[in-house]
Structures are given as C-alpha cells and as structure tokens.
Symmetry: C2
Subunit: 452 residues, 2 copies
C-alpha cells in the first residue's frame, strides 16, 4: 500500500453503503494514503444473516448491529457520514446527498445492496412485509406477537383461526428460517402463557413458487430441509404461486391441498404474512445506469466489467447485491457470483485492491469468487450445510449442521461484544425455550390491527 | 388466602396496567381462588428506573422489558390481555376495551400510571419529548445520536454549535441522570469517532425551575448532585424557567448567565431537548373520577380512601402514580406517598390484600408506606443515596453511592435473565466506555431533521 504516490492532495474514495461489501472495501483501504468517506443511510452495519432472529424476538437489535463510525474509530483515514444518496454526478465525479452535501471522489465504490421486490405488485408490501432492515424486523416481530395477542382476545372461531395462520412466501433461506422459527415460537416458546388459545395450534405455512425450497442447494439437501421443516411443524407447499395478497389473507393458484382438484385457486386467511420471495437491487442501480449509460439485469443489478467497474468508468466499482458480477477463473467460463455475504465481502476487498492498483498506475485485476459452500438454518437443531472442499462437496444436515451454522455465524459477527451477547442469548434460549426480545414497540400504529 | 369462600363462580379481579403497582397486585393474588385479568396497552412490563439507559444507548430495550404474559406463565389464575381501556362502566362493573371487549369485575384495581405533563403547553411535546415508554426512549436515542451525525455534516459553525447543544428540562431524577449520561456520551463514548467535530465540545445544559436539583432529596445531597454533574461536564442552571420551546430551541426567563443583567429572557438554540419536568396521571384518572364522582388533585391523580379505594366504591382500588394516596401510621398525621416505584409496589400489594379481605368479608386496612430511602444516579461513578434506618438517615454520595445504586437496581430488575444481561452490558460499558445499543431505527421519519 506504500506504492501510492505521496501527492500533496490525497486521493478521495467514496463508498456508498456499509453492508458487507462497503465495510470490507473501507477496511481494505486501511493504512493507505487515501481519504475514504463511507456514506450509509443508517447509522449501523447490520449482520443481516441473523436479522430473522430479531424479527422472531430471539435477539435484540443492538446484538446484530454495530455503529458504522464505531467500527472505523481506529481507522483515521475513514470519515463516516449518515446520509442518503440523491444523485451521482458522473461527469463532475461527485456524490450528491439529500440535504445538499456534495462528496467529490477520485474513485467511487457503490455497495448499496438490495431491497424487496414484489414483482410489480408493490401494493402487497403493506400486507406482507419483507426482511431487509431493522425496521422491517421490528414490523414483522410486531405482527407475529400481536397476532397471538389478537387471537387471545378474539371470540369468533373463524377469525381466531385466521389470526393463528402464519404464512411465509418464498422458500429461500429467509423464508425457510422464518418458517422454522415461527414454528418454534408457536410450539415451544408461547405454550402455557395463553388462557383462551393454544399457541401450538397455530398453522405455519411456507409457500414456494418453484419445485423445492432452498433452490441454491443440491436437491438432496432441499429434500432434507423440507423434512426438517415438517418435523418442526411447518406445512411446506411447493409449486404454490401467490396471485393476490390483501388485508384478509392471500390467494394461491391451483387447487388447495386436499381440496376440490378442479379449483383454479384457493385463499388462506391470514393477518401475518412474511415476504421472502423477491429481491431487487437498490434504486441507486438504475440511477447509476442512467448516469453512465450502462445496463442492468432483470433484478436491477448493474452489469459490471470483470474488475467490477462500470463499462467506460474505471473510476466506479460496484460490489455486493447491486452488482451482476461474474467470477473469473483463468481457463474457465465466467460464472455468476451468488448474492450471499461472502460474495459481497470478497467483492468489497477486490474493488479496494483495484482502487489501490489504479492509483498506483497498475492494471486492475478480474474478480474471482472463492466459494466455501452454503449454509442454511431451519430451526432448533436443524440446518443444512454444503461445503466446498478440494476432495469434493461435503454435505450434511440436522443437529451437527445446525451447530456448524451457529458457530460459523457467531464467528463472523462483527465485534467481540456482539458475539458474546449473541452466544449468551442463544444459550439461554436453547435451554429455556424462551425468547429474549419479545418486546413490541410502536404499538400505537399497530393498534388498528387489533381493533379490526 | 384459603379463607375465600369456595363459590361455584370465582370472584373476578381486573387489573388495569402492568407497571410496578399492577404487577405486584397480580402477584399478590397468586394461589387465590380468584380469576385475575391483567390488561396493559403494551405487551411488556417496563423497568422504568433504567429507561434512561435505553434512551442513552447503554441498554437494549429487551434488557429492561419483560413480556407481561411470560411473567404470569406460572400463575394460572391470571389472564393477560393486550388492550387499551376505553371506559369503565362503574354501574355495570365492567371495563370496556377499545375494540369492543367488556371485562366484568367484582373488584377493579387501576394502576394505569402517569404520563408527561407540559403544563398546558402540549405543543412543546414535539420538540422536547419526555421519557415514559420504550417508544419515548427510542425517540430520544434517535435525537441524541442524529444530532451528533448532523453536526458532523454541518458546515455552518452556528448551526453546528446548535446541533451540539443538548438541553434537559427538569432537575428531578430523570433530568439528572439524562444530563449526566449525555455528558458521558459526549466526553467518553464518542470522541475519536468523528472527523469534523469534537463531540466533547457538546454543551449539556440542565435547566431546573426551582432552586435546586433533586428536590426530594435533602439539601446537602442536592448540592453534591450539582457538583457531581458539573464535574461530569453538565452546566446546571437553577431558577431557570422555560417560557417557550420550538423547532429552533428554547427560551428561558431572566438574564442569561454572564449576559446582560437587564435582559428579561434569553434563548438556547438546540435540536435535542429532553423533557423531564412534569408528570401527570394517566387520562384514565379523569375518566374514573367522572364515572365515580370522585376528585383528582392538580396532577390528575385520584384522591383515594386510606385503604386505596375510591370514596363510595370499595370495589375499586387505585394504586401507583395514578393515586393521590397517603401513608397511615397509627398516631401520626397521614403523609403523602412519593411517586416512586417502591410506593407503587407497596400499594399494589396492599390493594391486593384488601381485595382478599373484602372477599372474605373482613374490613380493609389503611395503607402504610415503608420508606427505605431514596437513590438517584448522576452518571459514571456518581450518585446520591439517602437511606432510612432505625438510627436515622444514612447519606452518602460519589463512587460508593453509585455502586450501591447499581446493585440495588440490578437486584430489583424483573427476571434473572435480564439481570445478567444488564450486568454484562454495564460491565462492558464501564471498562470500554462504549455504549452497546447505539442503533438508530425509524430513521425515515427522522430524515427531515437531518435535512433541515
């Protein structure tokens, strides 16, 4: 890093977004003679793989969120700003923030991540929140816990049953862990605490539009995941395409399981629907594509060069969920990088390395993704693991997969403090079946839900 | 408790509110042949003495909030309902909830607590939030942390200085601990994390309308508290009457310290004002007074009989901050019960004991408050303690007072789980000066603040 020319004016790198990609990029510029500015629209780096635990009251928010500026307190070349990007002025090379600030850059790293996609049905968002931010997690926690509260107060049997229908849409990792944990709450955490309902009678339904859950996993592990979900008490329905969602519940195409085989659709009454089906790149992707004349893929991700830069703009790199990036292994066809946190972290480091090369007048290098495997948790004692190894894939499921998943996640948590808290919270939750963070706030706004 | 007649229909007790008073009342009815229903408008019992730690990012919300129904899971005669009281039908003896439920009672215990009072200036609430609920604490946390963020982005020196003015109104226990902790954040937690501002340059101003802080304490301890606050970096201004609060700051009557002595008022520009000045009884007090024809005091508290019942309504007891109650010691003049948590807990237990007596056909007993003393924390290593003892009061301040305060509060925290978490959080915060829960959520709504 000492190869950077010691000019009077230090080069300026602006990093937009402090998820896994942005954080790793900024860290990789540590000790360099570069002024780095990290802009994020929240004040915290979020450990998203455990966000479902906040949504299901297993962890408090601070356990998985570290203040961005605290993470950089010992990296004096980093300035942290809380702000939202309004526009990127590619010609003038500056990032314009809402509120009027302009951040000039010599190199820009865009790591703005992804948000939910409702495939053009944004009106569904109000009835089926997704899970990307802490506010999302609080909203889902509120809906889950208030649904049980409302059921306890409800005298009409049909309405009570509707309050106890929990539907998760999408059988990807988020949908699977949400459904598994909901089943755990209904069967292990809440029983004994209600006087008019039996929480264990709640129905947890996981709807997957494709033919199997966890499609990124090998087929055998998908099958194991489905079996483990069913053992936990989740009803898994594949080939289940949702055609409508409103305040009363959702409509699914095709005949209902065990119903009239000639029916073209059926409804599930539910007041608690969690959306885990679609992901779309941050709107910043489209802004940037328009400003640079580059293209985005169907999910709104920017199609980048092998070195993660935007075509024609070597001074702009895109990393993480916002990039439609490929992995380049010499002598092989490039393969798409999966949208997982190791991918974002590796891209962040690679983009930073290319910034250093570029400022040193060296050519940039194509990105190569190292795939160490794939984990998914399902619930108590249940997970599936698919590890890459030189001797071929190592695949296992069940209790040891769950332990492996748990320690891997606690290990990668940012900051020792959080690791300890999370381990303690889980240890306690495991032995007592209790869930620590069953606190509902913002209840005023949710009151209508209970009074309906 | 076995003296209750074993009738076919068990007597029904409804308890409104599950703060300290309601919780203790319900617990005191454990094992009795009574059906108890506890109604609260939140889903958690809040350990309010540590709420300022949530507001100042020292503790996460779940550390001081336990789900109400979890607390009663092993008390089968208690049914927990999440709901807000709309009206109390005294003639029909039923509590009507918003949303339409009616809860019939044979005995009613009202423990609905208190809220902020702006002395008729409710328009101040938007600019100077008070601290009673978790949502209040999140709002104040958001304003504190976002003020530093905004200062870091602000280029205009006057506006930057305004962002770094933190004003606490009211020198009672809440005001004192908020001001002391704000000074700790500015001087110990945040330094080193900003590049454009020095957080330690923040001004923390505590405004008290009376002649001294902590007026419930002996004068010498008030003086010690003031000195300790000043040592922590708080500017304490007594005899400082606030006459206006708006979006730009507040106006104080009289000349500014060190300013023109002839001036009749001065302004303090500030974007972060915390209200700790006034407390008013829950609006339920007025409803109940109207329904029963009884009277309330200036703070809206119901004036109760010696046995805590409402005059003419032996079947309704009022406990905690909603009651203008007196302590009755034989042979002495009755004295007012202070609005502190031991008072609420003792009233809750006393009301429950009178319910049992009444149902057993025995006469009720007047309430007697046992005063064990008074503690107030100020900040790191700083507190004042005034203990009652048979040999006269024991008073001390400083480090040992702080340790005493800390262990007393951790001891009284509801639930072992929370105690452990709180102790760990504090141990960590003490050694590292870090604050664990610096997570701001609901930032969308607060964005305007930053863009102003």
């Amino acid at each position: 890093m000492s190869s950077i020319p010691n000019t009077a004016i230090r080069p300026r790198v602006v990093i937009v977004g402090c998820g896994f990609g942005g954080l790793e990029a900024a860290r990789a510029l540590r000790g360099s003679a570069i002024d780095v500015t990290v802009v994020d629209k929240t004040n915290h780096h979020l450990f998203q793989p455990l966000l479902y635990q906040v949504a299901t009251a297993g962890l408090s928010a601070p356990a998985i969120a570290a203040p961005v500026r605290h993470l950089f307190r010992k990296q004096p070349n980093v300035t942290t700003l809380l702000g939202e990007v309004e526009r990127i002025d590619v010609a003038e090379r500056q990032v314009l923030l809402q509120g009027g600030d302009a951040l000039p850059y010599d190199h820009l790293i865009v790591a703005a991540g992804a948000t939910h996609s409702y495939f053009g049905r944004d009106d569904w968002a109000a009835f089926a929140p997704g899970l990307k931010t802490l506010d999302d997690a609080f909203e889902i926690r509120r809906r889950i816990l208030l649904a049980f509260e409302a059921a306890e107060r409800e005298n009409d049997p049909a309405r009570r049953a509707a309050w106890l229908n929990f539907v998760v849409v999408g059988g990807g990792p988020t949908g699977v862990e949400m459904a598994g944990t909901l089943a755990e709450i209904a069967r292990h955490t809440l029983p004994g605490e209600f006087r008019h309902i039996d929480p264990a009678s709640a129905k947890i339904i996981l709807l997957e539009g494709g033919t199997r859950v966890l499609q990124a996993m090998p087929e055998a592990l998908s099958q194991r995941a489905k079996e483990q979900l069913e053992k936990l008490g989740v009803e898994v329905r594949v080939d289940a395409r949702v055609t409508a969602i409103d305040a009363t519940g959702l409509t699914v195409a095709g005949p209902a399981p065990g119903g009239d085989p000639a029916a073209t659709s059926y409804t599930i009454p539910s007041q608690c629907i969690v959306w885990g089906a679609g992901v779309a790149a941050s709107p910043l992707g489209r802004l940037l594509a328009e400003a640079t004349g580059s293209t985005t893929d169907r999910a709104g991700r920017l199609v980048v060069e092998p070195d993660l830069s935007i075509p024609g703009h070597p001074e702009i790199s895109v990393v993480g969920d916002l990039a439609a990036a490929k992995s380049h292994v010499p002598g092989q066809e490039p393969t798409p990088v999966p949208g997982v946190s190791p991918g974002a972290k590796q891209m962040g480091r690679a983009a930073a390395a290319n910034v250093l090369r570029r400022l040193a007048g060296q050519p940039s290098q194509p990105f190569r993704y190292r795939d160490y495997g794939n984990l998914a948790t399902i619930g108590r004692n249940a997970a599936v693991v698919d590890l890459a190894s030189p001797m071929g894939p190592v695949r296992f499921s069940g209790y040891f997969a769950w332990l492996f998943w748990l320690f891997a996640h606690v290990y990668f948590l940012i900051g020792f403090r959080n690791r300890l808290v999370v381990l303690m919270d889980w240890g306690w939750a495991y032995w007592s079946f209790a869930r620590y963070a069953r606190v509902v706030t913002g209840i005023e706004g949710a009151k209508k839900q209970l009074q309906e």
